[in-house]
Every structure is written in structure tokens, then in C-alpha cells.
């Protein structure tokens, strides 16, 4: 899974030469063998490295605060989303509240945080019923926006997010 994400990320970043990854441990943590230095271990570490390699530092956030927020979400992706320590409903609830008045997770532009959170949350959103997508309307809106960003979706199937509300507040 993580390897597919990294491959998609490389394509999105426009990196010409795809890297060769290996994995370690039962959790299949991705490893990138770096020629000169120590190997890079972990999805987030490697992803950040790729962003720097592609010379797209803005994807890591704008300014000190912006960069901190991006890192926070990258950490959230690995510690909360991937590890299944939180139950799905509370993740969606928190994210829905957070996204109430935001277009992107960090700042006003697409960052690596949006991309990796999109990859990570895709399977959850895919399984939501129309009614649930309406319940977490801000998450759905953000998700639809990110999946339509040119070049981001790649290996993942599109998820239908309806424009119009089908369920009013007093639904059957």
C-alpha cells in the first residue's frame, strides 16, 4: 500500500526516475536506500524527501507555522489513521469539525498533508453511504476537492461525492 502511494507521489511530483523501495518488519514499513547516506525509513520520511528532491518545498507548508501544521497532519496520518487506534467515526468527526472553515489541511494551498491524508482516508470514504458522506459534509467536500486535483488521484478509484443534499435534518 505504502509503496503504491510513494509511486503515485513520485509521478505527481514529476520525478523522472522511480525509486526502488524495500520494506521492513511485519508492518511493511517502506525503506529507501540512499546512495551516500543512511536509508530512509517510513512513509512520511520518504515522502518529505521526495518533495525536497522534486524541489517543491511549498508542499511542506508555508512559513514555520504552516510547516508545523503539515508535519502534524503527516504524523496524524501514520499514528492515528494507519494504526487504527482511533475508531473511524471519531476520526471523521474530528476532521469534519476541523475542515468546517478550511479548504486545505494546512494553509491555503495543497500540501503533502492533503495528499497523504487523502491516500490514507480513501478506503474509509469509499465505504461510506451517501447519508454518511452528507453527515461529514466538510470531509467529503475536502476529499472531493483533493481527488480532483490534477495528478493526485493516480492509483485510487474515484469516489462519488454528490453535490446536492439528499437527506434533510429530519430524515427518515
Amino acid at each position: 500500500m505504502a509503496l503504491r502511494e510513494l509511486a503515485s507521489l513520485e509521478k505527481y511530483l514529476g520525478l523522472k526516475k522511480p525509486n526502488k523501495y524495500s520494506t521492513q518488519g511485519d508492518k511493511k514499513v517502506p525503506v529507501l536506500q540512499n546512495n551516500d547516506a543512511d536509508p530512509l525509513v517510513g512513509l512520511v520520511t520518504i515522502a518529505c524527501h521526495l518533495v525536497k528532491e522534486a524541489k517543491r518545498p511549498e508542499l511542506l507548508g508555508d512559513g514555520a507555522e504552516g510547516r508545523a501544521v503539515v508535519q502534524q497532519w503527516l504524523e496524524y496520518r501514520v499514528t492515528k489513521l494507519d494504526s487504527h487506534t482511533e475508531d473511524t467515526k471519531s476520526i471523521l468527526k474530528d476532521l469534519n469539525l476541523y475542515m468546517q472553515d478550511r479548504v486545505y489541511l494546512a494553509g491555503n494551498q495543497l500540501t503533502l498533508a492533503d495528499v497523504l491524508m487523502y491516500y490514507g482516508i480513501h478506503s474509509i470514504i469509499l465505504d461510506l453511504a451517501v447519508q454518511e458522506k452528507e453527515q461529514y459534509v466538510n470531509v467529503a467536500r475536502w476529499f472531493d476537492h483533493i481527488q480532483h486535483h490534477p495528478g493526485v488521484r493516480r492509483h485510487l478509484p474515484p469516489v462519488v461525492v454528490l453535490r446536492n443534499r439528499l437527506y434533510t435534518s429530519r430524515h427518515h
Binding site: 453511504a129 451517501v130 469516489v159 462519488v160 454528490l162 443534499r165 439528499l166 434533510t168 429530519r170 427518515h172
Partner: protein
């Protein structure tokens, strides 16, 4: 020692009390006024009425009562004065709730509208009050609780009554204004069905309910002992409706019980319900049948009843289009696929997909009632006429209210040869349906029809959530009484 006890002389003692049981001892020439007729035009008249004591509450030298008759209620007052004594006021205050009383009273105008009663402009000043039938003091449920909206109960710490308690004490539960409204509406739905069809030349028929073979399939049928053998309770009048068409009755309908031994404990299944069934011979196209059916379903009457029910069970008002919206199955598939649902061309609609489709249709067309036409042949019964142009589809339709199915119908196969083929295709034992196939051997007109569940239609029309609310004495796998 002697005790001297004083009795305050009760000057009003002839004007109140518990009456002797009415055993038709006498024919009193007394007109009783209906509570619903207590309007300002009756002010200053002395009238008699018979009603239930909904509440009675003493306040010093007065006793306030609310007298109720079905959906209507009125405030009444017994006050110590020249007509009523202290003992009479005390008597009135102690009359148990739900007791039936005969009351003679002056109708008086009120300054401020009495919001809590149906008769808001007048109140009764009681001169005589007699108990005709006393209710036991401990009621199994309180009508105020039974009529309270569910949400309110939790918020204000007041009780509501759960469904099982209501159903166990149905006689009292049916007295609530909501129940009265629901079943009057139900009566109206039946009436509209009959009136509409009779005007179109339909004949009402009665079909047997004790039959020799399961009409819809052997799984969900009740068996009864029939002298030395067994018989079944009819799952639908299907067979007999069609036989009537072959017997030249042309257009028929029947209203009667339907028995389904389905062990489904859901909000919309009953083991016994009332079927409104229709079957008609048509000239050239089965859409003539669909139009006849939809005409029986759409009406604007009974607004008062609908309002009353929505006080306890708020819901979105029911919307429909004229003419009724008719979608083809392929269109529905497209709408569902656009919403992210994956379905094969010949798949049946699952209940969640039906509900989602209902929402999509509501959003797109703003209607709660529509017809879905041309179902895939594979998912319909063997007697369904295949589509003439596309063998994968059929001349069959379902109708939906608020996203839930209320009717399944079709053009039937009226040719015995084709019928035999279809039966064989469905691996049905031809012996078991021999008399059915025989009905079509001596000239049978093209015909079609469908069946509706009365309780389900009322439930959906009113936006209620459980079919037991629209069945007076519901039957389900767990309930056989009252």
C-alpha cells in the same frame, strides 16, 4: 359521652352522582350536543353532552375538567355557587380519568382562547354531572403520555409510552387524538380506493382466503388444519383476481386480509395485513393499468387528520406530481450509478438502494411517489409478461412512497403456452399450478394489476416509522393479541 356530628346540608345532591347502569330503562328525549359543535353560536345555551373525563383538577372552590370526545375536547368548570355545592365540586374532582359522564352545562364565551383544547372559544359551566361509566383509577397508560412526541419526553423528563405498552393496551391507546386521526385517514384511503375504482367501472370482489395451494411460493405461508387434511391462508388474491378477469368481470378490485408467514421483525412487515388489490383487462398497453392504480393513490383530502398526526409525529408533507412520475428501470440504474452504487443491469434493487433511489428521485423531481417501470425479467415472478422488445426486461412495475415499495405489479402472461414455458424456466412443478394454467385455456384477455398494503401506504403517507402504528390490532411474529 355522645358525639354530635354535623352534616353540612348538600343542597346540590340531586345534581351529581354515579348513575345506575344504563340498561335501557327509559327512553329519555334528550338531545346530546357533540363537543365539536361547541362553538360561539351555542353561547348562553343550556346543553347536555356525554363525553369522557380527560382530566379533572380541583382548585379551591372550583374544579376544572377537560371533557373529551374522540378528537375534540372542551374545558369545563364546576364552581361552588348557587348551582353547585362544595360536595359536588369535590365529587367532580374525584371522578377518575376516562370515566364517561353526562353533563348539563351552560355554554359560556371565554375572554382568552383556550389553546390546549380543540374548542378554544367556549367553556362549559356545569350544572349537573353524572357518571355513566366509571373507569378504574389506575390506567395502564396515560393518554397525555401516549400523545406526547418522543423527543419531548426525553427533554422535559416527562414520560412517553413505548410501542409494546401501547399495543398491549390498544383499546386505551386508540383513544388518543393521534390514533383517531390515523384510522380515520386509513378509512379514507380505503374509501378513495373504492370510489376511484368504482367510478372507473371496477367491480369489487371477495376472494377465498382458505386455499389449497400457496399462491406466492411455499415458504411464507400459514397452514391450517382443514378437517382431515390441511389448507393454506392466502398470501394474496392473485390467482382469483386473474380468474375473475378470465370470467369476464373485466376490471376488479378486492380489499381483504393477506397472510404472510414471514419471520421478519421489521418496521414494515406484518403477518396479517389488508391488501388493496386490483386487476384489469386492458386494450393494448399495460400502462392503462398503471394509470388506473396511480389515480387511486393521489389525493388531497384529510388534511386535518394529517395535521393532527404530525403534531405527535412530525414529518415532511407528502408530495406527488400530476401526472404521476414514471421512471424506467434503466434510468434508475443510471441515477444510482451516478451516485456511486455498483449494480448489474439485471440486478434487483436492495432495500438500501431503493431508499437511496427514493432520495435521488426526491432531489431531482421533488416527489415522494413514483412508478418504476420495466423491471428485469429475471427478478420477477414466473407469470410476469416479458418485454416485447428486450427479453431481459419485463412489463412489470413497482410503486414507491418515500423511498419504500408499496406495490408490485405487472402485465400477466395470459397465454397458456407462454405461461407453461415461463413456469418451466423457473423450475415450478406444473402439477401444482395446473388449474391456474387451465384458467387461460378458454380465451383470456390481456390483463395486469397490482397489490398494495393498506397499513404500509398509510404509514408512508403520514411519514410514520412503524407499520404497527397504522394497524389497529397488528399481527407480527411476536404478537397475537389483543
Amino acid at each position: 359521652m355522645c358525639f354530635v356530628v354535623f352534616f353540612l346540608k348538600d343542597f346540590a345532591k340531586d345534581r351529581y352522582g354515579v348513575s345506575a347502569m344504563v340498561q335501557s330503562q327509559q327512553k329519555l328525549d334528550r338531545a346530546l350536543v357533540r363537543v365539536e359543535d361547541l362553538t360561539p353560536h351555542k353561547v348562553d345555551q343550556l346543553i347536555w353532552l356525554r363525553a369522557r373525563v380527560h382530566t379533572s383538577r380541583a382548585k379551591g372552590k372550583q374544579c376544572f375538567l377537560v371533557l373529551r370526545q374522540q378528537q375534540f375536547n372542551v374545558q369545563a368548570l364546576v364552581a361552588v355557587g348557587d348551582r353547585a355545592s362544595k360536595q359536588m365540586v369535590k365529587f367532580a374532582a374525584n371522578i377518575t380519568k376516562e370515566s364517561i359522564v353526562d353533563v348539563e352545562a351552560m355554554v359560556r364565551k371565554v375572554e382568552q382562547k383556550i389553546e390546549s383544547c380543540s374548542q378554544q372559544d367556549v367553556e362549559l359551566h356545569i350544572e349537573r354531572i353524572f357518571v355513566i361509566s366509571q373507569a378504574e383509577p389506575r390506567l395502564p397508560l396515560q393518554l397525555e403520555d401516549a400523545v406526547r412526541p418522543d423527543g419531548d419526553g426525553e427533554e422535559e423528563g416527562r414520560a412517553t409510552v413505548n410501542q409494546d405498552t401501547r399495543l398491549d393496551n390498544r383499546v386505551i391507546d386508540l383513544r388518543t387524538t393521534t390514533s383517531q386521526a390515523i384510522f380515520r385517514l386509513q378509512s379514507g384511503v380505503c374509501q378513495l380506493f373504492r370510489d376511484t375504482l368504482t367510478k372507473k367501472g371496477f367491480v369489487e370482489i371477495q376472494t377465498p382466503k382458505i386455499i389449497s395451494a400457496a399462491s406466492e411460493g411455499g415458504a411464507n405461508v400459514f397452514t391450517v388444519s382443514y378437517f382431515k387434511s390441511s389448507a393454506y391462508l392466502a398470501q394474496s388474491p392473485q390467482l382469483y383476481k386473474q380468474m375473475c378477469i378470465c370470467a369476464d368481470f373485466d376490471k376488479v378490485f378486492c380489499v381483504g386480509p393477506v397472510f404472510r408467514a414471514e419471520d421478519s421483525n421489521t418496521h414494515r412487515h406484518l403477518t396479517e395485513f389488508v391488501g388493496l388489490d386490483i386487476e384489469m383487462a386492458f386494450n393494448y398497453h399495460y400502462h392503462e393499468v398503471i394509470d388506473s392504480i396511480t389515480d387511486t393513490m393521489v389525493q388531497d383530502r384529510y388534511q386535518t387528520e394529517i395535521q393532527t398526526v404530525s403534531k405527535q409525529f412530525p414529518s415532511e408533507p407528502f408530495k406527488f406530481l400530476e401526472p404521476t412520475l414514471r421512471l424506467e428501470y434503466t434510468e434508475a440504474l443510471a441515477m444510482l450509478r451516478e451516485a456511486g452504487v455498483e449494480m448489474g443491469d439485471e440486478d434487483d434493487l436492495s432495500t438500501p438502494n431503493e431508499k437511496l433511489l427514493g432520495r435521488l428521485v426526491k432531489e431531482k423531481y421533488d416527489t415522494d411517489f413514483y412508478v418504476l417501470d420495466k423491471y428485469p425479467l429475471a427478478v420477477r415472478p414466473f407469470y410476469t409478461m416479458p418485454d416485447p422488445n428486450n427479453p431481459k426486461y419485463s412489463n412489470s412495475y413497482d410503486m414507491f412512497m418515500r423511498g419504500e415499495e408499496i406495490l408490485s405489479g405487472a402485465q400477466r402472461v395470459h397465454d397458456p403456452q407462454l405461461l407453461t414455458e415461463r413456469a418451466l424456466h423457473h423450475q415450478i412443478d406444473l402439477e401444482k399450478i395446473k388449474s391456474y394454467i387451465d384458467s387461460f385455456r378458454y380465451g383470456a384477455p390481456p390483463h395486469g394489476g397490482g397489490g398494495i398494503g393498506l397499513e404500509r401506504v398509510c404509514m408512508l403517507y403520514l411519514g410514520l416509522h412503524n407499520v404497527r402504528q397504522t394497524s389497529m390490532f397488528p399481527r407480527d411474529p411476536k404478537r397475537l393479541t389483543p
